[in-house]
Symmetry: C2
DNA sequence: AATGTTACTACCATTTTGAAACTAAGTCAC
DNA sequence: GTGACTTAGTTTCAAAATGGTAGTAACATT
């Protein structure tokens, strides 16, 4: 999983999925955005085996989405905080949540609120160039060598 | 993977990841958005083992993102086409691509263009309520029972 | 000195994945 | 109508990833 050369693949989606394409990594990122930072917080929140958590935190750290930070000298204790790259992953999580909300929305649901307005957010992906909602205008995937 | 009751988890992100939280499913969806529909097209494009492809296509079909459609009576042949739920997954893929573009962008890259303008899209997630870009205003995850 | 906390590692059974070969149902060329 | 080809898979089995339980290391607290 870690030794594949993602740069051989010209697709930015594939490159991202090469190390984030599993459930645990994304749930850890979700929890990190909620505010969790410590090993045991993640472990209890997710019900993940410690072996798995160790591996996933290591990958996320190597890949630059999380950063280890010492929060206590004695005893020496480290926590995991989001980097800029990790924080910039929020839109992905939010869009996943929006899809889940729309298509898997039965029963009680976690919602994401704007702190200032107190209202649930309504996430939409738009193309900043045309201002149009993604999906309303035809798109084309272009290979680097033209196609 | 298929027998877990996702509705026990109130988080729409977790519910979505319960069956889409693997690389192959997302790459199949990407290819479906590019326009591929047939078993062999997916297999060749992804270099995926046929066993895996069969399972993933079955899950995506069961979960309502793809639909089997007969495209030839004699010989009987079926293809897989995106449903509305599958098409609505495009914003997620696009945001993943945007992150990959920004943080894993070395070398030649696949780009996504608006067909009419011919320009590369610049995907941004915004909150339709406030109009603000996701990540620029503080958000809060709210549990269904209030937190 | 005993107990608790935090962040892990070791070990091993189970599950998932991956690779290669094979099959089924038909078509097409001659 | 026989042989080669196409499409959409299945079978089989080895290799890798995952999950669960228990244990450890380094300290603090009582």
């Amino acid at each position: 999983m870690n030794d594949k050369n993602i740069y051989a693949d010209p697709c930015p989606i594939a490159r991202c999925l090469a190390f984030l394409g599993d459930t645990w990594s994304l749930l850890i990122l979700r929890d990190a955005h909620i505010g969790l930072t410590r090993f045991d917080q993640f472990r209890k929140s997710l019900g993940i085996a410690p072996t798995m958590l160790t591996r996933r935190l290591a990958t996320l750290t190597e890949e630059g989405l999380l950063e280890k930070r010492l929060y206590s000298e004695r005893p020496p204790r480290e926590e995991y905080v989001l980097t800029a790259a990790g924080r910039d992953f929020l839109p992905v999580l939010v869009m996943i949540g929006a899809w889940g909300h729309q298509y898997r929305g039965g029963g009680p649901l976690v919602r994401i609120q704007d702190v200032e307005t107190g209202e649930d957010i309504k996430p939409v992906a738009i193309d900043a160039v045309t201002g149009a909602k993604i999906g309303t205008r035809p798109l084309r995937f272009v290979l680097p060598n033209g196609v």
